[in-house]
């Protein structure tokens, strides 16, 4: 991208105006720098995930093509784009109407407030523009040295594993890793079994053989655990590979780049519903209460109708998040929470429940600070909300060959919703053993939660994994309720039935 043109004066004024309203409402955001882009450049930047520079890779070209096609067919117009950095960069589409630009600005302030204050973004790199540029430079250097083919193919391999990270790990205080001295220097001869001190003739009474045996077993188990590699199941497969896979230095560097970017984007996937909901909540509030003139309201409503429409089988994160924030605000304004509310049995009483607590605004600010999509839904998606918003679950009907409405039961809807959000709808995969069967093979475990893996994809992914691990790789999963071990080695893909540990 060229150096950004300064924003024209009338848009600068508009920005100042909108941000003024936003602050009055209590939004707290990084400085925002707007750039106006023509739609081609907009598509380019969007393909790069909002960044001006990324490492060279064909998939950005693929995304760009899909985006451009969408624009040409009028299926989608990029509505808004803003990146989580300090200062935040946001983009406006050249030639949009002023109402649209205003709405986008109001929307963007909501996003940036969310980036700045939501807990799950607290560990992200706010200088990621530089981070991305640095990654790009490193990848280009590797390409110069090893050729585009080799590097691109390796990036393809890494991308196929990029979802194998532990999105929660940045927020968890891990136990202090053991110092090397504690791991090494284990004597091979059996250690002394701890015994209670006893005189010779009392020995068998005080330390009976069973006790000695039990002590010995305890020791064995502890030693076995220490020998396990990794000691605990590890969810961050990428990290495990970086630490232990026999790859060249430049390949390790690329693995690190991919992992770094995956962690940067992870919070956005974890909070998509909230983040879009929050931004939509504020743009509609700012526009309807402050910014839009009477003449603009119609256009504004028009534009919103498109963005907030739901269509059949698609969950519209904008709409769900927006409605849920409003629902929370409504409840806390009327005191519809707490013990008394929970225990109230009368529907009529609940409908007219208004304690004039007026805590709604305060509550939604608190929610936006502490929650992610899963906890947001888990805590605030209520029966009333579910029926009011006409939610349903759908599934594939094998008999008719159609996707069909399955249920409108609250419990069912909520379960399904949480399931599709947990781990961003992706399977839980762990490194179980880095020295499987004592042959240096890799064993991954798929923690099965009711959904089988897509087999052809799994086979291809294992193949990619072996490229990195260089020894055969295995994955323990369940298919149709029975344990199966998938394997990829030099003779290709195979699978056989296997014991699946209970409670895995």
């Amino acid at each position: 991208m060229t150096t950004p043109k300064p924003l024209p004066a009338h848009l600068q004024d508009m920005q100042a105006e909108i941000e003024g309203y936003a602050r009055e409402y209590g939004l707290d955001f990084f400085p925002i720098i707007y750039e106006i882009l023509d739609y081609k450049t907009m598509n380019e930047v969007a393909a790069y995930g909002g960044f001006p520079t990324r490492y060279p890779h064909w998939r950005f070209g693929m995304d760009y093509e899909q985006l451009s096609k969408g624009y040409e067919y009028g299926l989608q117009k990029i509505y808004e784009m803003v990146i989580n950095t300090n200062p935040a960069y946001a983009y406006l589409l050249e030639g949009n109407s002023l109402v649209d630009q205003k709405t986008v600005m109001a929307h963007v302030t909501g996003h940036v407030d969310f980036f700045k204050n939501n807990y799950y973004f607290s560990k992200t790199n706010r200088k990621m523009i530089d981070g991305m540029a640095n990654h790009a430079a490193r990848v280009r250097r590797h390409i110069a040295r090893h050729g585009i083919e080799a590097v691109e193919n390796f990036i393809d391999v890494c991308l196929s594993l990029e979802n194998l990270i532990d999105p929660m790990s940045p927020y968890i205080q891990r136990v202090r890793p053991k110092a090397d001295s504690e791991l090494d220097g284990e004597p091979d001869e059996p250690a002394e079994i701890p015994k209670l001190p006893a005189k010779g003739y009392m020995e068998d009474y005080i330390n009976p053989p069973e006790f000695i045996e039990a002590q010995r077993r305890k020791q064995e188990a502890a030693k076995a655990k220490a020998k396990r590699f990794p000691e605990e199941r590890q969810r961050d497969v990428l990290k495990f590979l970086i630490d232990y896979a026999p790859v060249e230095r430049w390949q390790r560097d690329i693995l690190e780049i991919i992992r770094d970017e995956a962690y940067y984007f992870a919070p956005q996937a974890m909070t998509k519903i909230m983040n879009e909901g929050w931004a939509s909540y504020w743009h509609s509030k700012i526009m309807t209460e402050k910014a839009a003139s009477a003449a603009e309201i119609i256009d504004y409503a028009d534009a919103c109708a498109g963005v907030l429409a739901t269509s059949g089988a698609r969950l519209n994160p904008y709409k769900l998040g927006l409605e849920l924030f409003r629902h929370i605000e409504y409840r806390w304004d009327r005191g519809q929470f707490g013990k008394e509310w929970m225990e109230c049995e009368s529907l009529e009483e609940k409908q007219n429940w208004d304690r004039r607590t007026g805590l709604g605004r305060k509550k939604i600010f608190e929610v936006r600070r502490l929650h992610n999509d899963v906890t947001f839904i888990d805590e605030f998606f209520t029966l009333e909300f579910c029926y009011e918003q006409k939610f349903f679950t759908f599934g594939f009907n094998e008999r008719s060959g159609n996707w069909e409405i399955m249920s409108r039961e609250f419990k069912e809807v909520k379960r399904q919703l949480l399931q599709s959000l947990t781990n961003r709808g992706q399977p839980f995969i762990y490194v179980e053993d880095g020295n499987f069967e004592n042959r240096g093979e890799l064993l991954l475990l798929h923690r099965h939660e009711g959904l089988d893996l897509k087999m052809d994809y799994a086979a291809d992914t294992l193949k990619n994994l072996m490229t990195i691990w260089s020894r055969p790789v295995n994955l323990l999963t369940k298919v149709d309720g029975k344990g199966r071990l998938l394997r990829f080695d030099n003779s290709g893909f195979s699978d056989k039935s296997a014991d699946y540990p209970d409670g895995a």
């Binding site: 081609k40 393909a47 790069y48 060279p56 890779h57 064909w58 998939r59 950005f60 070209g61 693929m62 760009y64 096609k69 989608q76 990029i78 509505y79 691109e152 196929s160 990029e162 979802n163 956005q268 996937a269 998509k272 879009e276 498109g306 739901t310 269509s311 059949g312 089988a313 698609r314 969950l315 519209n316 994160p317 904008y318 006409k390 939610f391 349903f392 679950t393 759908f394 599934g395 594939f396 094998e398 008719s400 159609n402 996707w403 409405i405 399955m406 249920s407 399904q416 599709s420 959000l421 709808g425 992706q426 399977p427 995969i429 959904l451 893996l453 052809d456 799994a458 992914t461 990619n464």
Partner: protein, 368 residues
């Protein structure tokens, strides 16, 4: 303006090209391209271009939706919503569909089959004239008035004169502001190549045979179209009688009579003589059949028609014989016997769908 993305985009197109090339035989034999001919591009699903990841299978996965409907109602899959990031609640469950223009496909096909570029006969291009609305002018009929530019000019004038009031934005165009669409008459080079497809639709040609003909003619059409700017195609079907039909009918009908190949040849000769003088046209008749002609007499008639009325006028005459459980397959032998060393006649036996590629190479590998 060149963009950074251009490199990545080119790289992507290269990969697509490679994948298409790898799978060309598969695509060609499945006839999955023929779905869309209206536009000049086709969409090709390329599952193997996707980056594989561990993910859940689709069938057990449901989702959550919103709106009216009874339990058990079918729902359509909606378009993704605008916005950045994966829309919808099931990430990555889209097949990568790539748009490829027919020209590019033809090129790939050409490269893969090593087809030579066809040199059109050195003929005068016929030129037709067509009116195109291209510009604006200050006079014209009211029906052609260009509203937007008229009002833009009026606005410009009013601002310049200081008579524009943004609080009462009324704009009144005067005579001078009006602009009308103008047209230019453009010479349009007209095609000078025609393909005449003939298909035997007699009872012995089954659906499978027709499908093969359909796919093969489509690809031949695609290739020839990429070689000529604009090309005409005519379609003849025959059993014991021949008639000219439109493209749709050609690919769909199923008659069931006897077979008189000569009827088609007669019609073809008539078309050429009446509409396509050989001095100005590159003519490519293609005939597809299961080779089961009605009688020896009729075959004699066919040979005669070819020799005297068709071959002298055409670039190439192609005969493709589809293998059929019922046909005798005699006709191809008769043709080979009579025209075995005539360069203008190409025959090809199509054993099944997988042989389509080879058959196309038989026909077009000549580069005539």
């Amino acid at each position: 303006m060149s963009q950074k993305i251009d490199l990545d985009h080119r790289r992507f197109r290269e990969i697509v090209r490679g994948k298409i090339k790898q799978n060309l035989r598969k695509y060609i034999s499945q006839g999955e391209m023929i779905g869309r001919q209206g536009k000049q591009t086709v969409s090709i699903p390329l599952p193997q271009i996707d980056i594989p990841r561990f993910r859940h299978g689709d069938k057990q996965q449901g989702g959550v939706g919103q709106g009216d409907g009874e339990v058990g109602d079918a729902i359509g899959q909606g378009e993704p919503q605008p916005g950045i990031g994966q829309a919808g609640d099931r990430p990555g469950d889209h097949l990568v569909e790539v748009d490829v223009s027919m020209d590019e496909l033809a090129q790939i096909l050409g490269e893969e089959l090593e087809l030579p570029r066809i040199e059109p006969k050195g003929k005068e291009k016929i030129v037709a004239f067509k009116d195109k609305y291209t510009g604006l002018r200050p006079t014209g009929p009211e029906s052609l008035r260009h509203f937007r530019s008229t009002f833009k000019r009026a606005l410009r004038r009013q601002i310049a004169m200081g008579t524009y009031d943004p609080r009462r934005p009324v704009i009144v165009p005067i005579r001078d502001d009006r602009r009308y669409r103008s047209w230019r008459t453009e010479p349009q080079p007209q095609s000078n190549a025609v393909i005449i497809y003939m298909m035997d639709v007699s009872g012995s040609m089954g659906d499978e045979q027709k499908e093969i003909v359909r796919i093969e003619s489509f690809w031949i059409d695609t290739w020839l179209r990429s070689q000529y700017q604009g090309i005409e195609a005519r379609y003849i079907i025959h059993d014991a009688m021949a008639k000219e039909v439109d493209r749709d009918t050609f690919f769909r009908t199923r008659e069931s009579g006897g077979t008189m190949i000569s009827s088609a040849f007669k019609l073809c000769a008539k078309l050429i003589e009446e509409e396509y003088p050989a001095s100005e046209w590159n003519i490519y008749p293609f005939h597809f059949s299961d080779g089961d002609n009605w009688s020896v007499d009729d075959t004699v008639t066919c040979i005669e028609l070819l020799r005297s009325r068709i071959l002298p006028n055409v670039n190439l005459f192609c005969y493709g014989q589809v293998e059929s459980p019922y046909g005798s397959g005699q006709f191809i032998k008769d043709l080979q016997e009579h025209f075995g060393d005539d360069e203008r006649v190409v025959t090809s036996e199509i054993k099944g769908k997988d042989a389509i590629m080879d058959s196309i190479k038989d026909f077009l590998g000549q580069g005539k």
